[in-house]
Assembly symmetry: C2
Homo-oligomer: 190 residues x 2
Amino acid sequence: MSRWEPNTRERLLDAALDLFGERGYDDVTVAEIAERAGLTKRTFFRHFSDKREVLFAGQEPLSRILAETIAGAPAAATPIEAIAAALTAAAEAFGPERRERGRQVQSVVSGHSDLRERELLKHATLTGAMAGALRERGVADPAASLAAEIGGLAFSTGFHRWIAPGSDRAFAELVREALDELVAATATLG
Amino acid sequence: MSRWEPNTRERLLDAALDLFGERGYDDVTVAEIAERAGLTKRTFFRHFSDKREVLFAGQEPLSRILAETIAGAPAAATPIEAIAAALTAAAEAFGPERRERGRQVQSVVSGHSDLRERELLKHATLTGAMAGALRERGVADPAASLAAEIGGLAFSTGFHRWIAPGSDRAFAELVREALDELVAATATLG
DNA sequence: TTCGTGATGACACCTGGTGTCATCACCATA
DNA sequence: TATGGTGATGACACCAGGTGTCATCACGAA
């Protein structure tokens, strides 16, 4: 046996989601989360940089996957093709076992301005990673930002459909569908 | 003479920008800002909902202008035409006298994660207003969100060019140019 | 004169977040 | 076995953002 119980981060995450579900995000203090996990406030902040971050942990690898997939796409691939490959690769990291937690997190986040802000920052990080990787491929700049923005929109749309009640299709499939719709819509704008 | 000096909000805003410029955003406390304006911390929070908000005040009318202009666009206008009209109307509210303050604010915001978050929230509010107004016009949803996102990108791009050192062209003109470039880029994506 | 109103000050309070030091299981090495 | 280093944690003090609440006081209306 080790000195402390293992899986500290996971215990904190579970405690936080439980408490947020019971009493709402801002009626729960960090000290309470830590206490339920058998830890102290100070330890919470050693694992999460702030109270919001506990709801967004685990998104760090996504940027990497997106950027690497775009970088590794065939030289002949168009920006949208590269984005499509990247979104597929990223979405495949979300198996059905993550759907329920996605629902829980989203239901807490969606009602809270503070948390919406953090969500937008994460979203911007993803689109920024995509845009940067496209520029590395030589895509010039209005096009790179635009393609990345479309990719971000597809990701969000797909995510919301994925966690919608009754949904049982794969995340990757839904994202691809959303991207196709967006590309088709491109022709109707102007 | 009134009991208190007038222009409370403006005095707080000036004090905040001065102090942020002198010592940086997080080495300045709200109490110090209030003190320089001859007020107290409590009064600061009566005028701004939080410390960050002092840097983003005055953006409230923009959403309204965008939405109303889109709503009032000719029935035959395409989504991009409606967006273009809205962006022009909004950008015309930014005369050259606001450019220097724009630079100050942006230089404080750009280095700070907390402030970037708030900026993203404001940005999302603007694109949300545009997307909503387009839907009211009967634009179906992938297209409405996409057009709004393009509008948001044009606005940001134009803004950054407007405050760039040496820039002397009108904000509205720069935004229109950015929008044109984005629409052209649409055809190159793939 | 009187009364209501609105903006402010004063003050206590909570909570998120940080700096710092002590503690103690674990591990490597002698 | 002994010894010393390391890493995660606890304990504790502290700061700053933000809020609730009550008192104050100029101003305008009646």
